[in-house]
Symmetry: D2
Subunit: 167 residues, 4 copies
């Protein structure tokens, strides 16, 4: 089960702590962590996952693996810049957003477009044409985020299998 | 001067009317229209632009040009799926969003990340960590949208030239 | 009718002359020229096309339009690096290669994969498992290249229309 | 150490056998195998790697993980179509080509452009402007391919570290 953690490449100490806890808990659940492979939230999440023996995948925007943070096990070098944001979320069964700016917003948008559940910690809120859009599942702790992500990821998988069987 | 129009590939008659007016006015201002090349808002905007002798560019997600709406002069076949959303907005000096769903939201996010002005007609509203983000310039008519877009596009260009000169 | 010209971003004076002639002749045939938008062969071809009043499209790898050569009318900013090579050839009904290194080879490969005719001037030769692959149509002059490209582009289009009608 | 195996999504029994041996040997050397994640050569290589307890990464072109062959441990869903070919080779320190058609040729071209060593088993031969280009290292067996790939991958890595130290 692959779960994405998204957020800024530079972040506050509080966000880093949250992201690190998310990484630790994902690894304890046996999930593989996928992220954009750089610093900030991505690095903290990878560090957390590795401290618990988890596996980490970093989908990098540029041309070389030296940009990866030191806790990335598998650096994927895309060379496609910010278009790599799509691969980060599409590869996951659920996405956890920690804070984040416009790059994170693009990832949230792509995940929601692809019906991939998004769990948010201090992140974006959306409204469309005056109506609130509550697709982002807001939570208040790393534990809640990972519990939601893992249970939705399992459900997401079952839907996929069911839809394959009915084809 | 290239200006992007973004929005859904299927849309309400009111949105189509708005988008068509936007296309007409952009062409009257001598702007080249760039969009995702498909139906709905994109098609209405292209139709409007062509009715006034404008030039239209469609950045298509798939593998063949037959998916382009009939008012696209220059179909660019990217084959990169939704990653083409980035090229739509990055190629423009300003972006006009008409309505829109999650695909449009990803385009808004990429434009704002790239400091490209976004003008919104009945589109998304954003808030981050409880704070409203008013980066999307909300307007109420096609005229207002195009006036804003054209004046911001000119300013955007002047900034670029100034920053080149100071290098 | 859109036709691509591909080749190195730095080139010999002879290649530049060939590419410029190709650009001139394409414009005289009323074709729109698409290319990677940078220097060398791309710039020479665009300069030739503009000298005859043609329209030029540059599919740029990076993040800003200032990298475009001065004869590009429509700079498309993809931000996807070398993956933009695919868009250059897929958008064309025929491709003319002038010289070229590995980037050009990737474009030739993508064009042949997509059944888009490739005409070669002093460019790559291919063999697979010891057998020559003569898919690249070798020619010796700009005139021959453009004549071949234009006639194959027309045939390519007719095939497309026929295949649409039979669907 | 990540090494890529590239080749057709449908292949002859001989090619499948070669690819499977390549996968087995890579896993025995402790290398992580990266590939395009689909059938044919990719599937055979992954099957070989898994039979020896190796780790496999599949960089998929489409939108869902069900297209991955059953021996892919980590399916990366890019949604960018054939542009994913770039990520397959750029993520590797060396590339082994088994047979292959134009898609494989595009991968060889991108690898050579990025100075990533390419080892070839019954694959493409290149010549440019009448001159043979011997950048593809031709070998005759899976053993020879993997030995070359592993030793070049190590050297490639040392170059990277040296170039980082001298910055």
């Amino acid at each position: 089960m692959i779960i994405a953690v998204i957020g800024n490449s530079s972040c506050s100490p509080q966000e880093a702590k949250l992201a690190e806890s998310v990484g630790e808990l994902l690894a304890q659940h046996g999930a593989t962590l996928i992220c954009g492979g750089l610093g900030g939230v991505m690095e903290a999440a990878c560090r957390g996952a590795k401290s618990q023996g988890g596996l980490t995948v970093g989908i990098l925007p540029g041309q070389d693996s030296t940009a990866a943070n030191p806790w990335v096990d598998i650096p994927v070098i895309t060379g496609i810049g910010e278009a790599r944001n799509i691969a980060v979320v599409k590869s996951a069964r659920a996405v956890i957003a920690v804070g984040g700016s416009y790059g994170t917003l693009s990832e949230i948008a792509y995940a929601l477009k692809g019906n991939i559940p998004v769990i948010g910690l201090n992140t974006w809120s959306l409204a469309r044409d005056g109506q609130e859009d509550d697709s982002i599942i807001k939570v208040r702790s790393a534990e809640e985020a990972v519990d939601k992500a893992v249970s939705l990821a399992k459900r997401h998988r079952n839907h996929e299998i069911a839809s394959l069987r009915s084809q």
